[in-house]
Amino acid sequence: MDAILLQILNGLDKGSAYALIALGLTLIFGTLGVVNFAHGALFMLGAFCAVSLQKLMSVSKITIDPSQLDFLGKPLKVKTPYVVEWFGPKFGNAIIDWNVPLAIIVAIPVMLLVGYVMERGLIKHFYKRPHADQILVTFGLAIVIQELVKANFGANPIPTPAPDQFVGSYNIGALIGLDASYPYWRLIYFAFSAIIISSVFAFLRFTTFGMVVRAGMADRETVGLLGINIDRRFTIMFGIAAAVAGLAGVMYTPINSPNYHMGMDFLVLSFVVVVVGGMGSLPGAVLAGFLLGVLESFASMNEVKGFFEMLYLPSIDQIIIYLVAIIVLLTRPRGLMGKAGVMEE
């Protein structure tokens, strides 16, 4: 039971990332009709907002300490971060330690701006082009962003730890009489995702802006004829989708040290999530994200893998998502919650 609880938590955690990225993808597809292959790159850029802030905070004053030598035998250059210099060791180090939560504040405007520039500068020119063109241009953009990040930050993962208070694990199993410790930060990530997803739904559901956007998603032309500048609202939605992906990336950094390729690792799976959930369906994207995350986790249990190996299906954990996608698409061609008419013209 302990192992099952852990894999459920793992699945929800993975599903959180899938759901957040898939949610952004669906928002963009639903509003602008664009299949955005650069969405993984936005997730990665969010993570590198945290890395950049960490680097910024570690900009240091250099003093020479003649009592210590560096690797070439010269007097050691001692680095003291300016943050520590200005605010003192206690508060300065606390600011550095809380880099990731602080990066959320930085990432929101940065990613809104990135999304706005991306949409106005490139993607708007492809609205009336075939989906294949959109995929090519956004995929190309993703590669450009990825290579720029690699050129600036290197190829290796960069450790971006959580605040000291959230390092380690919590015996969440004890709440129900089990023994299953789970990392604090992963629990926070799940809670954070739930808040973001709820906020996006609430925004679309309970605000006038959201109502107009939903109307535009249903019938863009009619909303335009009513004198509403729907394009402007859709551009803002692109920015919001970019910010959602970016925030998912920021919060993910303590779980796995970010590298330039992390967006691509999530992109393909997130597209499968969108397709399984139903193209254009926001609840479908979220449901499929969590569902596939949990299934993937269970498939990686030794017992499950052993069972499938007996059926001559090795490495089931690597293919489970695609198997489920095939089954869902064969039985429900529009996905779990897809609607008629989407991508069917």
């Binding site: 070439l72 050691l76 450790p159 390092v167 796995n256 040290s257 590298n259 986790s297």
Partner: protein
């Protein structure tokens, strides 16, 4: 009357054209060996990952290669040429020819690595190929070099198979291997953690992971440890939480991470996040072991590496004259200390050049003969020998652990023990290295 006819001219032109268009190594029957240098220079091919997950290691390898070329051509301070026991290298290129180089990007993919090596051999006339981070890449390129008739001086490749079942007469490896890591580590692990231990292995699912796991499991079992489980993890895995979670209830009190590079960083981070290092299992502290360390990767894992044991081929903090000379040259030129990847590639380039000088030829068979059984010193690893039977270098191995109180961003590992060569040596027909034959050197002629 002229003998020229239109038909004859076309035939002659086609024959000459086809001959000129043919890759050099196919036309090599005319020469004694593939890509024999004819002018005043000789071209070496540096095949390293310039993109992909090991690009940082590739960049460090390339720095070392450029430094070696500079030293061979008489530039810089000479680095390890001053401490190398062989005195054949004089800073006048190789056999009087100026050393030039071309580079290729392996992308850490076997097919891309073979394509770039092939291009360097066929188009750039490279007489030797060197490089590679990843054993899969090294083994693939080594096979290609054997077929093409050029020497392959392997870079960072740690699988037993490179000089085991996949060894080739044209291939040489200075870097150590999985067996040596295990032989050096096991006694240290026994001394620190005791005999009665239950180890759970997570293993990268490719040639290096398999041989590393087989080696460390055998070495620790010989010390009394029990291997509870070995789970293969796909190379592309980034989130290891699903693999780490089952360790918690497996009864294991040791986790061995047979992972390298990004895999190692992510699996170690997951293991630490799940609180494994804080757990008491079977009345003992839970411990993590990383058999193969890299300083570049250890930096990526940050605080998580502190106190964790592993092994490495070389470390910049060594105090022998060779290491000091190399660190000084490299550090002065680039501003930071070299990695083990940089060290092994620099040494391989010098060893190749020295073998050419001693044999008086670039012919792979002459170079091979000069390297086989060659004993040398002054290159940072103490007395070293290129064993003739499998083209594997035998030398001391470093057992290291993550430093508790690093003084700089480069100071992440500390050397715990220098394990003598005798302890890590094995016979050429050892079962873990069986299954292949060295074959005969191929000059490409």
């Amino acid at each position: 009357m002229s003998n020229f006819t239109r038909r004859g001219l076309i035939k002659t032109g086609a024959t000459v054209g086809a001959g000129l268009a043919m890759p050099t190594f196919i036309t090599s029957p005319l020469a004694a060996y593939t890509n024999a240098p004819t002018g005043g220079s000789v071209t070496l091919g540096f095949n390293v990952p310039q993109s992909g997950p090991y690009a940082d290691e590739g960049a460090d390898e390339l720095r070392a290669y450029k430094l070696a070329v500079e030293h061979l051509n008489g530039g810089g301070d000479g680095g390890m040429m001053n401490t190398f026991s062989s005195k054949s290298l004089t800073g006048n290129g190789i056999l009087g020819k100026k050393v030039e180089y071309v580079t290729g990007d392996t992308q850490t993919k076997s097919d891309a690595a073979r394509a770039s090596a092939k291009s360097m051999i066929e188009k750039d006339n490279a007489v030797m190929i060197t490089g590679g981070s990843s054993s899969g890449v090294a083994i693939a390129v080594q096979g290609l070099c054997q077929e093409a008739g050029v020497i392959f001086m392997a870079g960072l490749t740690h699988s037993n198979d490179t000089t085991g079942k996949d060894k080739k007469a044209n291939g040489f490896r200075h870097f150590f291997n999985g067996y040596m890591s295990a032989a050096a580590l096991a006694p240290v692990l026994e001394a620190r953690y005791g005999k009665d231990r239950n180890a759970y292995h997570l293993t990268a699912d490719y040639t290096w992971g398999w041989t590393q796991q087989e080696s460390i499991a055998a070495a620790t079992e010989a010390k009394g440890w029990n291997t509870v489980n070995n789970v293969l993890t796909p190379l592309a895995t980034t989130d290891f939480s699903s693999y780490v979670a089952p360790v918690l209830n497996s009864g294991a009190d040791i986790l061995v991470l047979n992972h390298y590079g990004g895999n190692m960083i992510n699996s170690l981070t997951s293991a630490v996040q799940f609180g494994l290092r804080d757990k008491i299992v079977n009345g003992k502290n839970f411990e993590i072991v990383v058999p193969l360390y890299s300083r570049l990767m250890a930096r990526g894992a940050g605080e998580n590496v502190k106190g964790i044991f592993g092994s490495t081929n070389w470390h910049w903090s060594l105090s022998d004259e060779g290491s000091k000379a190399f660190v000084k040259s490299f550090g002065t030129k680039y501003g930071f200390p070299p990695s083990q990847a940089a060290h092994t590639t620099y040494v391989q380039t010098l060893l190749y050049a020295d073998a050419c000088e001693r044999s008086g030829t670039f012919n792979p068979c002459g170079v091979s003969e000069a390297l086989e059984g060659f004993k040398f010193d002054g290159m940072g690893n103490g007395p070293t020998e290129y064993r003739a039977e499998d083209h594997q270098c035998f030398k001391d191995v470093l057992v290291v652990k993550g430093k508790e109180n690093p003084t700089s961003e480069f100071d992440v590992l500390e050397v715990v023990e220098i394990t003598p060569r005798a302890q890590v040596e094995y016979s050429a027909d050892h079962p873990m290295f069986a299954g292949g034959a060295l074959g005969k050197c191929n000059p490409g002629a």
